[in-house]
Subunit: 315 residues, 2 copies
Amino acid sequence: MTAPSESFAPRREEPVFARLAIIGIGLIGSSIAHAARDLNLAGRILLYDRDEAVRRRARELGLGHDVADSATDAVRDADHVILCVPVGACGEVAAEIAPSLKPGAILSDVGSVKNAVVEAVLPHLPDGVHFVPAHPVAGTENSGPDAGFPSLFLNRWCILTPPEGTDETAIARTRRLWEGMAAIVEIMSAQHHDMVLAITSHLPHLIAYNIVGTAEDLAAVTQSEVMKFSAGGFRDFTRIAASDPTMWRDVFLHNKDAVLEMLGRFSEDLALLTRAIRYGDGETLHRHFTRTRAIRRGIVALGQEKPETEKLRKS
Amino acid sequence: MTAPSESFAPRREEPVFARLAIIGIGLIGSSIAHAARDLNLAGRILLYDRDEAVRRRARELGLGHDVADSATDAVRDADHVILCVPVGACGEVAAEIAPSLKPGAILSDVGSVKNAVVEAVLPHLPDGVHFVPAHPVAGTENSGPDAGFPSLFLNRWCILTPPEGTDETAIARTRRLWEGMAAIVEIMSAQHHDMVLAITSHLPHLIAYNIVGTAEDLAAVTQSEVMKFSAGGFRDFTRIAASDPTMWRDVFLHNKDAVLEMLGRFSEDLALLTRAIRYGDGETLHRHFTRTRAIRRGIVALGQEKPETEKLRKS
């Protein structure tokens, strides 16, 4: 059994959903299970993972009320079903569970890419079932059923991308679930989501994965040196580059156009800075380095990050 | 007057240096002033900054024992002089203070680039004065005399790059000063330092500055959206890209060769990942994303970073 968490969010008198099903028990799935249970967001929470060892571990951890032995068992009679699987698996899972979804149920997901998920899931959606895709912009470098914790979504944005014409009540109830977990909900189109996330998340991950790889391949600098002196900046990239490889492979394969567009812009800009270094153009460098400070202040002001010294002094 | 800090390091019975001079009162200079005073590493600490407003602020903050009105006044009779100015200013400052350095004194600096500093400073070095360049691999996104705090160097590496033939006692005393501030000291050549830091610090900063610039130039995604959804990865880059522009301009201008070499490798590797995305080569992506996890674990194991969930749960 999970212990009630410290009060990062109020516990509901009445659950938002009578029966919640979570398919896929990784960092996100297990965090939803913790939060929904601690905060009474669902009367009954069923989980399923296709990996038997993960199901066993989820039972040991006491995640949700029960761990089912099949996806169809987990979703039967559920009012809200959340696919917490890699983006590339959403279509297949949707096809498998579709016949077992009850009329009026809401199907959702947590994928970091939305357009590809909508395209993969919609063809399987039974009449009378609502589809409200969601993307909680939250995560840590850890994955698996042990990685979850209830306050993962606290003060983090959750983006909903309901296809046009989606039932308003289904959207409102999905919003209530995420707001119940202390997330801040925003609604936008799947297309726009994919562009926004390409620059704020997908490109940073690709760059981080890339620079860590470059560092590993060096012969003149040992890996031990790279690790020792990582506090100079590299360290922050390694945190991102430790994210789940399968999840991120799927993100790049399924948000190809937006990522390639951002990559193109990034590379053009980098060519400019490279040239400034080669020709000793200090003015261009200084001008560029000055204007990037404002966006940092905005992020701190928005409460999405604490100023760094505060964290350092505490630690 | 600065209050004694919490005991992050033991206070010395006897100071390492009778008289310490700090030229340049930014994040690093003010942090050394705090630490050296709190931990009794110097009997008397004198500071100087060429900016009058900074000198006034340093006096208000009670940094060191006195703030001199000229660099020559600050260094006169000093046993240890640390240049805490941008890398590009080291040669000029060395030329100015050289006639006032007393025989047997140790001249040092804190620059993030070492070969260029050695080349700029050595020609001005008077006979009998020892030169022990230092680079504390520590920092925050904040600059100026208010940014400093005594435990900045705690558990951070400080790299010394004494030119061949440097007096061993001078090296040992410089080591004792930094170890007294709870840093971990390592000695290597200036050339090797510049290569190691090019990959662990300089390239990450350039990449971070670049991606934040790319994000700012987008028309399809607003700045407000970039800030709101930054928790997906972008946020970590903005912290680095908020670093002092003058310091970093100088780093890139003075470690040009090593930075261009690392940039070349980085761009080649990125072309490979870009191609894998374009042609849907999930296997290449997955293989690359898997191997980068090990280096992260090494950094956490070395105590240079706490695992992320630990920080998140605390906050």
